[in-house]
Symmetry: C2
Subunit: 414 residues, 2 copies
């Protein structure tokens, strides 16, 4: 079963557009056991558009064509697919009334341009659009299937959930088994060195390392072998990797570090106060991005200047004067101060030099101290992160979250 995804729209061929639809479709297709063999992006002009559709319909069993269903002159997907399939476009009175109703409910007259959205390729099933005017189309043609979906992600997703996945038979050999192991605290080459002999030789199994600063992920997938992950050869690889990477793996269920830490805090009924300097609020932002985080996130201070560190957190001016704002001692005093002044059980802090300015030979850009204070005492960690300001900020927040995770789990702090 060969699946192609085509995205239609000249705006998708500019430097700014990011294609999120194809990632969503791929994920859900994989879940049903389908692999995507080709993805293409083509503009609105009729000739390249119909050529791309024709080619994909020749090569693939199922073709998703996303976008170009709007009311304007640039929206030509319906026409292009009709031409390729040699079918007529017919006006669907029911769709027309639905679109008219949609405008009427907002107290408006339907513009004449929207009339074309009621045109349907003869013989197609109509997929209703709850969140927009353009309906989708499902077309069976000579043993192949073409699925036309609207381009706006919000419309595409709800339509796919409601009308596409229920129509698509689950592949007999089951879903692609996928496991994602997320790690922090190791570089890409360290992970690579640890697992280089585990790359599967079977073409149906795959191990990919996805690296970003502060987070290295191992993505394992397998065309299922009927017995599920537990009995499959992939499971043996996953077990081996777990053994080698140990507590560097913080998640195997897609959760990000802030979610993992949030679960642990919630389970233990603990509250957290945050004191940040170089990360500038990112640590608090990540922690509070988790729904329900108000249960454990007490408060945060972004103490950029020394005055704020002293007045908000009670960091002794002498500590800053003696050791500097970026030091193990100041980080510890910030974490202790956050805990003491907030009444939370745990204080977590970051201080460092995010760059690009402010570095010095003995304290270079990227130098970051993290500290954690709880009833048992205060621990600190020193790191040197590479990269521009946003990367230093993110890696610093990873370090603090990982320090907290390890403390809560009682595992070794590297």
């Amino acid at each position: 079963m060969n699946v192609h995804l085509l995205a239609v729209g000249s705006e998708l061929l500019t430097p700014l557009f990011r294609d999120t639809n194809s990632l969503y479709l791929t994920e859900r297709l994989n879940d049903l056991g389908y692999e995507v063999a080709f993805k293409g992006v083509v503009g609105d002009e009729p000739l390249p558009l119909s050529r791309a559709v024709r080619r994909s319909l020749e090569e693939a069993d199922i073709v998703f064509v996303c976008g170009g269903l709007g009311p304007t002159g640039d929206d030509r997907t319906r026409e292009a697919v009709a031409v390729v399939l040699g079918r007529e476009l017919v006006l669907d009175e029911k769709i027309l009334r639905t679109i008219e109703d949609r405008f009427r409910r907002r107290g408006k007259e339907m513009p004449e341009a929207n009339r074309k959205q009621a045109l349907v390729i003869a013989g197609a099933e109509v997929l209703p659009n709850r969140n927009g005017t353009a309906p989708g189309l499902w077309i069976s043609h000579g043993g192949k299937t073409a699925v036309l979906l609207p381009g706006p992600p919000f419309e595409l997703r709800s339509m796919a959930e409601e009308s596409v996945w229920p129509r698509l038979p689950r592949r007999p050999d089951g879903p692609l088994v996928r496991t994602v192991l997320k790690t922090t605290g190791l570089t890409e080459s360290e992970v690579e060195t640890l697992v280089h002999d585990l790359y599967p030789s079977e073409p149906s199994r795959r191990l990919t390392i996805l690296a970003s600063p502060g987070q290295i992920e191992l993505h394992l997938s397998s065309a299922a072998d009927g017995v599920g992950e537990c009995g499959s050869g992939l499971a043996a690889v996953v077990r081996e990797i777990r053994g080698r990477l140990g507590s560097r793996i913080f998640s195997d269920d897609g959760a990000e570090l802030e979610e993992v830490v949030g679960r642990l805090l919630r389970e233990r009924g603990l509250t957290l106060a945050v004191a940040e300097s170089c990360s500038g609020g990112l640590l608090s932002h990540r922690l509070t991005s988790v729904p329900g985080s108000s249960a454990y996130y007490a408060e945060g201070c972004v103490t950029y200047g020394n005055r704020a560190k002293t007045e908000r957190l009670g960091v002794p001016a002498a500590t800053i004067a003696r050791h500097g704002a970026v030091s193990r001692e100041t980080a510890a005093a910030m974490a202790e101060g956050a805990r003491r002044t907030s009444g939370a059980e745990i204080g977590l802090s970051l201080t460092g030099i995010a760059g690009p300015g402010g570095g010095a030979p003995e304290k270079p850009v990227g130098l970051v101290y993290a500290a954690l204070s709880d009833g048992a005492g205060t621990i600190t960690a020193k790191s040197l992160f590479l990269g521009p300001r946003d990367r230093v900020k993110f890696q610093a927040s990873q370090k603090a979250l990982d320090l907290l995770r390890r403390r809560l789990l009682g595992v070794e702090i590297p």
Copy 2:
């Protein structure tokens, strides 16, 4: 001049990979006056790979093939292109020595697998790789050009800057002129209604509206007409849009709202303190993402609970009791408290309900109050934002930044 971009690699067909190479290539190609007509992503299997290369070489004048130049068995781009062009692969001794040297400098022996990276398509020009082992290839063939580049973005970019753009003649009609107008405070349909009659009729000019929650951008581009933006027809459209959108436009040079606000604060020599509830640190994070922001960003408090609002910012407990934590009065007291307790010239605050929980009929999820306090007094703004938690947080931060921008510029607060 028809340009196709092909990305090669089965890992690019999984749900997690994002294609940044094509956006970079598109931007630089546009600068040289080339438009991209098609983008494709294909896996490593020889048949689909050579089919995709063949088709693009038929349809396009210039084809970029990115990825699949590595040392492993999965890297088949060289072979596929050689087959399509009917040319031999020959071992290039100079490349072989360069790769061997690269390993030797790191104290290692070159693995046998890397030998294939010294294979070159007969007649191709070799593009050196400063950051990896795989050289690129530039091949002229029957009036067409194929450019083979390595997949890792770091390697691809430096190779393109050094060896590709200098080889590609600037199009005689000059670069694509591009202007991006960024707005906040209007919905997509409001912007659409204001500019719908300004869509250019010439196919060489384009107006695209890029909408995300809290930020609507108008992207205008034009195949240049030799006289630059100022004298072009596009400039007239830009002027007309400026007239209609007025102070809703916050940037025309790519700057985000936090950078615009940062420039204004710096110019005026003012400092800012931030107090956040629902946005959970995002406002501080955005402000401190701008290099040099420590010049004007004094400090921030993420006061999630009522206790923190009272103790950190001096918000009267009676205000919270009478009006609620999410209220105009509490927002005002937070901004005033941030200003007073920090000593900064300006206090900026946000309080609201980010959701998904915590909403009530009279105070629904998405209700957000922003407030600004300065020497001249305190102003507040009430908003109701739609969407999940992350969107509410982002829109809230936009609202606060825009309130600050308008106050600093002295323009009307809507």
